[in-house]
């Protein structure tokens, strides 16, 4: 290794700016934020010494008025809404990806683009769109009212329903793309073999199609569930008070409530749960996908 010195220099020159950018402007701030969780809440909502675990106690629900399950409910609700939205996204994306993959090649790029373009607009704007549609006195709300699903003049937002719609709308493309890739690689000889053996259509699907698309499905689940769990905009705009998720709880401590240590403790929980979720989904993907590497 005669050029070891210059090689190292090239490596540093190419990698250092990007790596430094992430370390200085993401890793350090995150550590700083996480450190804040172990401080006490000062008089103006800013963290002060001494070190304490007060923030975690508050997060678990212990306040001056005794224990309340509010934060715990928020956490459970986040998990539940994430799971529900992910399942709905799979149910919609699966036939959509299949439809695209079975069209002539020249149509596929355009159809994929048609699915992806709405997600390029800003999150806030997409939510404004749904606010317009689900507001009181619009055709959709009036239909829901006439079916007695909602009370007249109430509108469909803010509600948990609106949040789920918003989540599905936001993350649908992230499921369609990997599923489409899986369908495109589908080995049709397995399907034909199953049909030659007179398998029922559902059996063909269950034994010959589904297993082949599982890697795509798992990759999509990671891409949908992980960001859905951290969602802030959709719940804030479409949800009102009844559908808040952990992200809203954390943000509130830095905006209105001014309790930075509590917010920082919430942020730690979010980071930990995100990493645990990634690990679990990755394991599940490796097991279901026959040890094939899944995204992330």
């Amino acid at each position: 290794m005669r050029h070891w010195g210059s090689e190292t220099r090239y490596l540093l020159l190419s990698v250092a700016p990007g790596a430094l950018c992430i370390v200085v402007f993401l890793v350090l701030p995150s550590l700083y934020l996480m450190g804040m969780a172990f401080l006490s809440n000062g008089p103006y909502g800013l963290p002060t010494l001494p070190l304490s675990l007060q923030a975690f106690r508050e997060l678990a629900g212990f306040g001056f008025l005794g224990w309340s399950p509010g934060n715990l409910y928020t956490l459970l609700r986040s998990l539940w809404q994430t799971a529900l939205a992910t399942v709905l996204v799979i149910v919609i994306a699966y036939p959509a990806a299949y439809t695209i993959a079975t069209r002539p090649v020249r149509w596929r790029a355009i159809m994929l683009l048609a699915v992806v373009v709405p997600s390029w607009t800003n999150q806030v704007i997409r939510s404004v769109g749904w606010m317009n549609i689900l507001a009181p006195d619009t055709p959709v709300s009036n239909l829901a009212a006439s079916l007695e699903l909602t009370e007249a003049q109430m509108g469909l937002f803010p509600s948990q329903f609106a949040v789920i719609v918003g989540l599905v709308y936001n993350f649908l493309p992230f499921m369609v793309l990997p599923l489409y890739a899986a369908f495109e690689r589908l080995d049709h000889s397995q399907v034909e073999a199953a049909q030659d053996l007179f398998a029922q259509p559902w059996a063909v699907f269950w034994h010959a199609v589904l297993p082949q698309t599982l890697p795509g499905l798992m990759a999509g689940t990671v891409l949908v569930a992980i960001p859905a769990f951290g969602m802030y905009v959709v719940t804030e705009l479409l949800g009102g008070g009844k559908a808040t998720m952990v992200g809203n709880l954390v943000a509130r401590q830095f905006a209105q409530a001014s309790n930075w240590p509590l917010g920082a403790a919430g942020a730690i929980i979010m980071i930990v749960m995100t990493l645990v979720g990634l690990r679990v989904l990755r394991r599940l993907g490796q097991r279901l996908g026959g040890d094939r590497e899944v995204v992330l």
Partner: protein, 274 residues
């Protein structure tokens, strides 16, 4: 395998999906031309929200900030991320696992934690260094930080798809590092660089949360303006503003559709052009 019934069902499903995907955007565009400020009843066609929008200096500066933020951060991210992706490929035999981990961090970090971490960091830092006073600079830094990984991964993926022997060919032909960069690496990476620049742009335009938490009083962007208008309950020009952004995004989408086939077709010919 497709029975006619299934095919017809899928076609109906597809168009229902298109309605679901485009209805929210269509409603915004449609009611931006409404004579009254309502999204329930269309009272007649009018340009008045656009006239008010272009007369409002705060909104115009928000529009300017959005464009400056997207273009500047993408330009910086493409350079930094491009080098990172190249370094990741070139030294892939070294133990760089920690680097991959580092690159995935901004991708998996929840937006809200990302934004708040940067906010607390910049607020503290700005007491000592004026450069980090929340504003356009801090927003650009934050955007570059979440764009860099995507650029690096795209560039790295493109390099991994190449035949590794091509690099040796350059050496066999006694190409200097500069010649190798100019006649081989840059031309070969051009499609990936264009794709990652478009991705960086859309990431920047799509982002609200991180911008919101790193913005200062004078660096409001359009999404932030729309957000605070909704929060205050004053929403007259919101649909018109949203329409402008939707038009911009669809423009970029069409542009990418036009560029994509030409870049792959001409990438081999680019050698002389670049």
């Amino acid at each position: 395998m497709t029975a006619p019934g299934l095919a017809r069902g899928l076609r109906v499903f597809w168009w229902a999906l298109m309605v679901f995907l485009y209805a929210p955007l269509a409603v915004v565009v449609f009611f931006s031309f409404n004579q009254i400020n309502s999204s329930a009843r269309f009272a007649g066609f009018s340009w008045q929200w656009y006239e008010r929008l272009f007369a409002n200096e705060v909104i115009l500066s928000a529009l300017g900030n959005t464009v400056i933020l997207a273009l500047t951060s993408s330009a910086i991210a493409v350079v930094i991320g491009g080098f990172l992706g190249y370094g990741l490929y070139r030294y892939r035999r070294w133990k760089l696992g920690w680097l991959i981990w580092l690159i995935y961090l901004p991708v998996v970090m929840p937006d809200i934690v990302f934004g708040i971490a940067e906010m607390t960091f910049f607020v503290t830092l700005s007491q000592y260094i004026a450069l980090f006073t929340p504003g356009l600079t801090t927003m650009i830094i934050a955007h570059v930080t979440f764009q860099v990984p995507f650029v690096a991964l795209l560039v790295n993926a493109r390099l991994l798809s190449l035949d590794a022997q091509l690099f040796e060919v350059c050496q066999d032909l006694y190409a200097t590092p500069l010649q190798r960069a100019r006649y081989f690496i840059v031309p070969v990476l051009t499609p990936a660089i264009i794709a990652s620049a478009l991705l960086a742009l859309t990431l920047s335009i799509d982002d609200f949360v991180i911008s919101f938490f790193t913005a200062g009083p004078d660096s409001t962007t359009l999404p932030i303006y729309i957000w605070s208008a909704i929060k205050k309950g004053v929403t007259p020009e919101v649909n018109a503003m949203a329409t402008l952004m939707i038009a911009g995004v669809i423009g970029v989408a069409l542009l990418s559709l036009l560029i994509q086939p030409t870049t792959s077709a001409t990438s081999s010919k680019r050698r002389s052009a670049s």
